[in-house]
Symmetry: C2
Subunit: 182 residues, 2 copies
């Protein structure tokens, strides 16, 4: 893992992945959810926004702790992403079911999921309610990525299989690159 | 083109594309910008959020007209997306430079770009300022997509080459699909 300048961390969200969001339960054990409705918002200061149903257990946890981590999975995590996205951590210890190990953040109490492609440590700044959803706007305070998968701050798509959500139970990933000719 | 239920229109933003945002200049001629920092926010009511620099000409236009259209390009539009994303429409008529033709929306004054893969007609609801950026939160009031490119509301990636931004001058697209086994 290398440290990534937080002002260049938005590149880790291109192409735009499904992510695993970790938040802390009571007793500081981690909870995991999947989220595809996340976008970079600002490069400097580095901010992201993610949309979350206010009934979600993770919403409650993040509102209490004001922090969470964004973990970018690869295609090898598709089963875990599916389970994280379809079960609630309110009654079960999802982290245990998913078999995840965690690694410490140096800036936050909330840990990262070992084995992901990249990590963003986020502090909640504010929320905007839209219907039953809350848009959570957060500052990226720490970013790390697997060094062997990056080329000049961008994913090397020949090596990094960044998992994306197509809809329902279908996922995808990008392999080929193209450039404008002008 | 088929009409898409606005509450299923978020699927048109998966995998997460770079989009062309059309807004109206004075005299109602269209302006075009490229944007990759867009996300679905809510399914019902159907909302999206997109991040825009407040210095952008499009920001001014959207703040005045309170509406815009989101046009989802394919890989064949990579040159136009690049130009739309790197030049300002403040001094030049970008729509003319880009050679775009437009088609009318039935719900908005702002038109769509002919030849795109899908269209979302959006009414601005509110904005949230973050640094020099404004997060524009808008309701999807109309959605259309090319019927031949969809399978049960999702993109058929064997046919639809939905353009995605990797960073800088590099673009990508998704072709292959995968499913969780559990």
């Amino acid at each position: 893992m290398i440290e990534v300048d937080v002002e260049e961390a938005y590149l880790l969200l291109h192409p735009r992945p499904v992510v695993l969001v970790v938040s802390l339960r009571e007793g500081d054990s981690p909870n995991v959810m999947a989220c595809s409705w996340i976008t970079p918002v600002s490069e400097e200061p580095p901010y992201i926004a993610l949309a979350m149903w206010r009934e979600n257990y993770s919403y409650q946890l993040i509102m209490r702790n004001k922090e969470f981590t964004v973990n970018i999975p690869g295609c090898e995590h598709v089963n875990q992403v599916w389970i994280a996205g379809t079960r609630s951590g309110r009654k079960v210890d999802k982290a245990k079911i998913l078999g995840f190990k965690f690694i410490k953040s140096s800036k936050l109490k909330t840990p990262y999921i070992d084995g992901c492609l990249a990590y963003l440590g986020c502090r909640l700044d504010k929320t905007v309610d839209i219907g039953e959803i809350s848009l959570m706007i957060a500052e990226i305070v720490e970013a790390k990525a697997r060094k062997d998968l990056l080329v000049r701050g961008k994913w090397n798509l020949k090596k990094a299989k960044v998992l994306q959500h197509l809809g329902g139970k279908v996922f995808t990933y990008s392999e080929k690159t193209l450039w404008p000719s002008k």
